[in-house]
């Protein structure tokens, strides 16, 4: 199959990639760019592990062709912080033990980053609703919600005045 060239920006860096037309964005990120933090858990858009941020919106990179990312800006989990300098969501996840095996975690972080960027005041119910599209088999979700609530402050959430 003939390969096509695509141009996309990932975590602030522009890339030109040659991919087969049927290559998913997840495979292009993982195999083409070596960004293996994006995980593939089901390949049919249900588990959410492969979620990346495309122009600010959380998207399933297993359901998107790499070619569709042409000229778009992608943020992956690698763009949210580094081991020695965790981003606010990552630090909150660590503090609240919101991950165990860590396989689903990148998808939760990207989903929540997209949510809190848009809605820093999202409450627990809203957060639960949004991450209900992501599966986690280890944590039971409780700590993930706690971590997200705490991380809101870094996204501009203001604590409501006590009455």
């Amino acid at each position: 199959m003939d390969e096509i060239d695509i141009t996309l920006t990932v975590n602030g860096t522009a890339h030109i990639l040659s991919v087969s037309p049927r290559t998913t964005l997840a495979d292009a990120l993982r195999q083409g760019l070596g960004l293996t933090g994006t995980h593939v858990g089901c390949e049919h858009g249900v588990c959410g592990a492969c979620t990346v941020i495309v122009d600010g919106a959380a998207m399933r990179s297993c359901l998107m062709l790499a070619a569709q990312a042409e000229r778009h800006a992608i943020t992956t989990v690698e763009g949210l912080g580094r081991p020695e300098a965790l981003g606010p969501l990552q630090a909150a996840f660590r503090k609240h033990h919101a991950l165990q095996c860590g396989f689903c975690t990148p998808g939760f972080l990207t989903t929540l980053h997209a949510l809190l960027t848009e809605e820093p005041d999202a409450d627990a119910e809203r957060i639960r609703e949004v991450v209900s599209g992501n599966l986690c088999r280890c944590t039971g979700y409780v700590a993930i919600i706690e971590a997200a609530l705490e991380a809101r402050a870094a996204y501009g959430h203001q604590e409501a005045e006590a009455c």
């Binding site: 087969s20 049927r22 993982r30 195999q31 960004l35 293996t36 933090g37 994006t38 995980h39 593939v40 858990g41 089901c42 390949e43 049919h44 249900v46 588990c47 592990a49 992956t76 989990v77 690698e78 949210l80 912080g81 580094r82 081991p83 020695e84 965790l86 990552q90 996840f93 660590r94 503090k95 033990h97 991950l99 165990q100 095996c101 860590g102 396989f103 689903c104 975690t105 990148p106 972080l109 957060i127 639960r128 609703e129 991450v131 209900s132 599209g133 992501n134 599966l135 986690c136 088999r137 280890c138 944590t139 039971g140 979700y141 409780v142 700590a143 993930i144 919600i145």
Partner: protein, 777 residues
């Protein structure tokens, strides 16, 4: 000379027992971990598996000629290729090795006969996974159908072609009886007896990362490397060595980050052999990543047991005897876990209660479905549901508060150690080590507000029926026979710990580091834990049966003790003092004001010591779960208003991790009660092999779950005092939840005996009960 108190030390405050943040998190949170599919190699080939689409049949022909013509396809291997090296190897049985099971082992690739949908028939190897999948569709597979048996009833009734292994004459692998005391006499003389039938549905662990393997054959040195190992790498190395005709020193299994195990991942499966076979045959690295659809049909299933259970009681609620019959649907083959699932269900039928007269008949049956293995709390989850439901029924018959009845029968501290008899044929007699079981029930009842809320049983509030259910459990951990570790004080002053335990994502890097740090008096940041890979130690036993902290952690303590001897000897030379005066403490070695830090001493190193912990005495954690539900009678939907699990784990090395294990286990268990169900039709076709059809708990399903960890009675079986902490959170979930739903719907005459409690099923039960209650016209 660097002695005296002016030298800065690494003295650290102890971290064991404190909720330190996990050491593995930084990489996992930033996408810099390494799972098996993250590995790549030059010249890498990709394998996919052609699987049977038929539940039972004879392979007539496999024509791969068109597939082989496809550009990029390198090879298609079938049983004929594997047999060219000798007989097609069988999957060995690792646990619960009933001799009768041997005839039911699985070949690593189907030979002539397929026995379940998903059984490997051929392995396609190509230059990309996409091409290999394209090639899959070009293989012509001709299978003549045989009678498929998709239930234990059908399997036991089958004759002729319906017998999976004709040489055995029957689909009944074996039937055995386990007993204590004299249940027959106790039942004959009992003032109250009740018998009920129960069942738990086939479901499984479904970890977020599917299985995956990368095999590399080093032809020059005759050495095979297999990445993607988990759970029991050393056992699998032995199995592979035998199957491939290699020496143990010619194979290494390498562990990467592992995306969840829960029992199913890391066992020796057909693909473990096939990928290695292909890599050696082709002389190139071969990777196989299971896709989600094949995960549902290829990775072990679990939990499918039917039970008839009888209880004999005195009028005051004293349980006099228990008698049960368990029928376990094992799927098509007996794989590595042998008969452990039904055997543990049989062992844990009496649970945490003072029952002396027990009779259990266990039947192990093969059917044309995916083979069964262990899933978190194997057998316990099922047995707990059967027994705890029956206790609630008996209490209602006897007019007793079910939790007063539980408390009346629970094993107390005065009963310890409790002789739990020999209810497992292949194990020695066992006894429950320590504990005061009523204490956890009392705490659990306080947490759920039993006294305050029990008037809600069966009441309707805003159209919803309320119910509160409770279940008590005991859970074993710490399987032997031993575990090994090595600790090295590196020349830079850091500690490297190598341990035979494996990580399945549960956090042992942190828990083991805490143990090692305290043993040597160093800060946690100086400790690095390596685990799982067979390159690290001569022998290891891995992670299952809640054993990693108990066995691996204790081996680390032993290695630390041995390392301290080396360090004292080295310090003695440096300080010019006799060994006998020196102790390792506060991050150094010294005596009085003569002191040398480990950092300084390390420059003479590295120093290394091995450790072993051998123990075949099990630990027994225990506790109680309680659940408050509201059931919608119009839809059958159940809302969990509150769920609390209380468990005495003996000693929590890291309370943060223990709490996370408990919460995660509860939610997994609630999935097993309400959602998870591997559905087969009568022809043995799996009907819901995708995450869109097989429902798992999501963030909105069960938000109200709590866990209380107690450290009341350490285990005397190991120096840490630890008991298992990863499985107790799931064991009593079905018992407590089903009791709650049953209590809620009791006014309608609904009886709960079968899982899962899906809305359609509950709606049907409610409708049937209402119809039955109406007078006939």
């Amino acid at each position: 000379m660097l002695t005296g108190i002016t030298f800065p030390t690494d003295a650290a405050t102890p971290v064991t027992g404190t909720p330190v943040e996990r050491l593995e998190d930084a990489r996992l949170l930033t996408g810099t971990g390494c799972f098996v599919d993250d590995l790549t190699r030059p010249d890498l080939l990709h394998a996919v598996v052609l699987r049977s689409s038929m539940a039972h049949g004879r392979i007539v022909a496999i024509d791969a000629s068109a597939a082989l013509e496809l550009d990029g396809v390198v090879a298609v291997f079938t049983a004929a290729d594997v047999a060219s090296d000798g007989a097609v190897p069988l999957i060995p049985i690792r646990l619960a090795p009933f001799p009768e099971s041997q005839a039911f082992r699985q070949p690593v690739i189907a030979v002539d006969t397929v026995r379940y949908v998903g059984e490997p028939v051929a392995l396609v190897v190509a230059t990309s996974r996409a091409i290999a999948e394209d090639a899959l569709e070009l293989i012509e597979l001709d299978i003549d159908a045989l009678e498929a048996v998709a239930s234990t009833d059908a399997a036991l009734a089958a004759e002729g072609d319906g017998v999976l292994f004709p040489g055995t004459g029957s689909n009944l692998v074996l039937r055995y009886t386990a007993q204590m005391g004299d249940a027959d006499t106790a039942f004959a003389n009992a003032p109250y007896v009740r018998t009920e039938r129960f069942s738990t549905q086939r479901h499984s662990a479904v970890p977020m990362e599917t299985r995956g393997l990368l095999a590399e054959w080093d032809a020059e040195h005759g050495h095979l490397f297999l990445s993607g190992a988990a759970k029991v790498p050393y056992f699998n190395r032995r199995a592979l060595a035998e199957a491939l005709g290699l020496g143990m020193d010619e194979i290494d299994l390498l562990e990467q980050d592992v995306g969840g195990g829960f029992g199913v991942r890391g066992e020796y499966y057909p693909e473990d052999f096939l990928v290695c076979f292909a890599a050696r045959r082709l002389g190139r690295p071969v990777k196989w990543i299971e896709d989600r659809r094949e995960h549902f049909m290829a990775t072990n299933h679990s939990r499918e047991i039917a039970c008839e259970l009888s209880i004999a009681c005195a009028r005051d609620g004293t349980i006099l005897a228990l008698a049960g019959r368990l029928d376990a649907d094992m799927g098509a083959y007996i794989r590595t876990n042998g008969g452990v699932v039904p055997a543990k269900a049989g062992q844990f039928l009496p649970g945490p209660y003072r029952i002396r007269d027990i009779h259990v008949d266990v039947s192990i049956v093969v059917t044309n479905k995916t083979p069964v293995g262990t899933y978190r709390g194997p057998g316990r989850f099922e047995a707990n549901f059967f027994r705890e439901r029956l206790i609630d029924m008996a209490a209602a018959d006897l007019g007793l508060d079910p939790n007063v009845m539980r408390a009346h029968n629970l094993i107390t501290a005065a009963d310890m150690p409790w002789d739990a008899g020999k209810l497992v044929p292949y194990e020695a007699e066992t006894s429950f080590d320590t504990g005061d079981y009523p204490v956890t029930l009392t705490r659990c009842l306080e947490e759920i507000g039993w006294e305050k809320n029990k008037h809600l049983q069966g009441t309707v509030i805003d159209g919803l029926y309320h119910g509160i259910g409770v279940a008590c459990f005991v859970e074993s951990g710490g399987a032997g026979p031993r575990e090994n570790a090595r600790i090295t004080l590196e020349t830079d002053g850091t500690l490297t710990v190598a341990v035979g335990s494996s990580s399945v994502g549960q956090g042992i890097e942190t828990a083991h580091a805490q143990i090692a740090a305290d043993a040597l008096g160093l800060p946690l940041g100086k400790v690095r834990v390596l685990h799982g890979s067979t390159t690290l130690l001569h022998e290891g036993f891995g992670t299952y049966h809640s054993r990693a902290v108990i066995m691996g952690g204790s081996a680390i303590l032993d290695a630390a003790t041995n390392l301290k001897e080396h360090l004292v000897a080295a310090a003695a030379k440096r300080l010019g003092l006799p060994n006998t005066r020196l102790v390792v403490e506060n991050g150094g070695v010294g005596s009085g004001d003569r002191f040398i830090s480990l950092a300084e001493l390390a420059t003479d190193g590295p120093f290394s010591a091995n450790g072993t912990f051998a123990n075949t005495t099990r630990t027994y954690s225990y506790g109680a779960h309680a659940c408050h539900v509201a059931v919608n009678p119009q839809t059958g939907a159940v809302k969990i208003l509150d769920f609390v699990a209380v468990e005495d784990v003996g000693r929590a090395i890291n309370p943060l991790i223990v709490h996370g294990q408990a919460i995660g286990a509860i939610v997994q268990g609630l999935g097993g009660v309400f959602l998870d169900h591997l559905v087969y039709d009568s022809e043995g076709q799996l009907l819901n092999a995708s995450l869109a059809d097989y429902l798992l708990p999501t963030a909105t399903d069960f938000p109200n779950v709590r866990a209380v960890t107690l450290e009341l009675h350490p285990s005397p079986t190991n120096p840490l005092g630890a008991k298992g902490a990863g499985e107790g959170g799931i064991v009593a979930v079905a018992g407590a939840t089903a009791n709650a739903v049953a209590a809620a719907l009791a006014p309608l005459g609904v009886t709960i005996t079968d899982l899962p409690l899906t809305p359609p099923r509950l709606w049907q039960l409610i409708s049937d009960a209402r119809a039955a209650a109406e007078p006939e016209h």
